[in-house]
């Protein structure tokens, strides 16, 4: 396998959870805010080349990384540069996302980027048809055995965990906060990202306990999910699903939006853990109850599904590195 380093930034911390788990050799680099950032990044990459790195895989095309890629390709024609696209159509409304995505496509056309990996099948299909060198990369997360924690012992209260990692529109926060209102004897543990979330829950008289995530990383999320009977992550649109994996791996069912390519149509696990209407709190309260009633079955189905999925994901990672 060609010696590679996966490079990631700190702008989208949520993305780093899965990506650091998926790839063995990873390194954080700066965003190219200033000339200093750019030159220190370049120096770091050159050191890696000296030590035998043959390819760089960038997670996204963040600020200034286009210049970095151009510099690398100018000086080291033999070094392969690949990018894992960490945006999707639904996010292109924002100039930052859109401009970086358009730049990514342009660099690919100019052959400064050798290969693009898309985390959404839909995106992959479109750009494959348009002639871009690209592949579909399956997101994944595998729990290390020493990270397994004891989960909450069932009692009379249903603890529901909602831990959005960003206070952004796509997280569908307030519709999710409504769900416990339709579940008797429940308590909501949630990541406070804005005072309005507290105010909303108080105003609507929804029983809750603040459970702020101090850091967006694997360990912090594990500590949160194990306190709950179920976690909910019904975002409108997503390309990584870290909360789903972390929760399910710990044995806590997690309800997600119909936003992933994880499952095939008709797959039994999907019927339990995927909602078809992310903004419908009544339907999602019913989905939560169905998950709780079938908890053991869901975890068994997950283990079975995950075994096969791990293989598929590993194959897609290896194929991408080998391109």
């Amino acid at each position: 396998m060609k010696k590679y380093i996966l490079l990631y930034g700190d702008k989208k911390l949520e993305d780093n959870i899965c990506i650091k788990n998926m790839f063995e050799n990873t390194k954080k680099i700066n965003l190219g805010w200033t000339d200093f950032d750019e030159s220190s990044n370049m120096k770091l990459l050159e050191d890696m080349i000296e030590k035998g790195t043959k390819q760089f895989i960038f997670l996204g095309l963040e600020i200034g990384w286009d210049k970095l890629i151009k510099n690398i390709k100018e000086k080291y024609q033999d070094i392969k540069v690949k990018v894992i696209c960490n945006t999707q159509d639904s996010l292109l409304y924002y100039e930052y996302e859109r401009e970086n995505f358009f730049k990514l496509l342009q660099l690919s056309k100019e052959k400064l980027i050798d290969y693009i990996a898309f985390l959404k099948k839909g995106q992959y299909e479109v750009y494959k048809e348009l002639g871009y060198k690209c592949s579909y990369l399956r997101q994944n997360y595998i729990l290390q055995s020493n990270m397994k924690k004891d989960i909450k012992v069932k009692n009379d209260i249903i603890d529901i965990g909602i831990y959005p990692l960003n206070y952004t529109w796509d997280k569908n926060i307030f519709n999710q906060l409504c769900i416990p209102k339709f579940i008797g004897n429940s308590n909501l543990n949630y990541n406070v990202l804005d005072e309005r979330m507290k105010e909303f829950l108080t105003t609507m008289n929804i029983k809750n306990k603040e459970d702020k995530l101090e850091k967006i990383d694997e360990n912090s999320l594990i500590d949160k999910v194990v306190k709950n009977d179920i976690t909910i992550s019904c975002a409108f649109t997503e390309y990584f699903h870290p909360l789903f994996f972390i929760s399910m791996e710990q044995g806590v069912p997690c309800l997600i939006g119909n936003t992933s390519d994880l499952f095939e149509d008709g797959e039994e696990l999907k019927k339990y853990v995927v909602t078809l209407s992310e903004d419908n709190p009544i339907m999602n309260a019913k989905n939560v109850m169905k998950c709780l009633e079938n908890r053991d079955k869901i975890i068994e189905l997950y283990k079975e599904w995950k075994q096969n999925y791990n293989r598929l994901a590993q194959e897609s990672i290896e194929a991408f590195i080998e391109k």
Partner: protein
């Protein structure tokens, strides 16, 4: 300025006290700047709003002694179409910036002996007006139609307005609410508010029917989708790209989306500006299908308008239309962010267009009856 903003964002945590102070100061200063720079425009606007109040007072005379009147803002196109589609005694009314205008309107309502006043959403200054009405005659019922869903509480304006109307309900200045989505109705009822359920409806029999040109291409429309991220315009464009022999008609199309169609090498007949609704209704009749794969809604008007013009419309699984029906199986999307799924559904919809339109005709008859009953219950309350 953008660079400065980025720099601040880089070094200061978004939830920190310091960030909030800077944001507040920035907000105050920009409001002040706006007022100074645009004082002439603001003065003209205020004059315009006062004239609208005078017109509303005139219209109210027409409804003397009526059971109800409903106010709506004619510039909020969706709300306006929805209100006019449901109620008979409607009165267009824009923002009220002058307290005296509010008092004038309240007096006209009391003097015309109108039994209940419905506010279809709340504009600037309407809260003061409804308080004035209750002051003049506490027996006049005040009802508010809330067109948003909880997603919208992400916006400062909507959340603050929601808190205000909830407080007014607690102070008995608002008698009840109506919601245009069942989930909102159930939620507010559970929270303890007297709530009613309405559904938006459209009646477009007067729009001229246009003969469809045969271009040999599949024309697919995306409309009123450029203003918000929720409208999901980029996924919609990608899905059209995947449909063989397709052309996208996008109105209005913004610069970003236009560049995207170029990158996709997607043929379009799009235009950049909004066009009057009547013109739009004629335009969409040239399409095979329209798509409206938004992420969250209440009771969107466009899908119904499209069906009324004889063109099926795919819509997100985020409203109460067609739920549990065969028609719904054809046109409700459950993967709004997946262009492959939307493409498959477009093709399926084109293949079953006739059946879909027949199913719609049957559904609409029942829906019209249902809407009428719901309005009746709300008006009588």
């Amino acid at each position: 300025m953008q660079k400065l903003k980025n720099l601040i964002k880089r070094f200061i945590k978004k939830d920190s006290f310091f960030y909030k102070v800077i944001r507040k100061i920035y907000h105050i200063l920009s409001t002040l700047k706006y007022k100074i720079v645009n004082w002439k425009k603001i003065k003209q606007e205020d004059k315009h709003y006062s004239e609208q109040v005078d017109k509303a007072v005139e219209i109210l005379q027409k409804y003397k002694g009526k059971e109800y009147v409903v106010f709506y803002n004619p510039t909020w196109l969706g709300v306006a179409a929805s209100t006019k589609g449901l109620f008979k005694n409607y009165v267009p009314l824009e923002h009220i910036h002058n307290k005296k205008d509010g008092e004038k309107l309240a007096k006209a309502i009391a003097n015309n002996n109108i039994k209940s006043v419905i506010f279809s959403q709340i504009c600037d200054g309407w809260i003061n007006t409804l308080e004035q009405i209750k002051k003049l005659n506490e027996n006049i019922k005040i009802k508010v139609i809330w067109h948003g869903n909880c997603y919208e509480f992400f916006s400062d304006y909507t959340w603050n307005l929601n808190k205000e109307v909830m407080d007014l309900y607690k102070e008995k200045k608002i008698d009840c609410f109506a919601f245009v989505r069942s989930t909102m109705y159930e939620f507010y009822k559970k929270v303890g508010f007297k709530s009613f359920y309405l559904q938006n409806n459209v009646h477009l029999q007067d729009i001229e029917k246009i003969e469809k040109e045969n271009t040999g291409k599949r024309k697919i429309g995306i409309y009123n989708a450029d203003t918000r991220e929720l409208k999901n315009i980029y996924t919609a464009l990608s899905s059209i790209k995947l449909v063989p022999n397709s052309i996208a008609d996008v109105v209005p199309i913004n610069e970003g989306a236009k560049r995207f169609t170029e990158i996709l090498n997607l043929e379009t007949t799009s235009i950049s500006d909004y066009i009057p609704n009547e013109e739009l209704m004629k335009r969409i009749q040239q399409n095979e299908v329209n798509i409206y794969p938004t992420f969250t809604e209440n009771a969107p008007m466009f899908p119904l308008e499209s069906f009324e013009m004889g063109v099926p419309c795919l819509l997100g699984n985020n409203n109460d239309y067609f739920v549990g029906t065969k028609l719904g199986e054809y046109v409700i999307l459950t993967r709004e962010d997946d262009p492959i799924d939307i493409k498959k559904r477009i093709i399926n919809c084109i293949e079953h267009k006739e059946e879909i339109m027949n199913l719609y005709q049957d559904w609409k008859k029942e829906f019209d009856n249902k809407c009428e009953k719901l309005v009746e219950e709300f008006v009588k309350a």
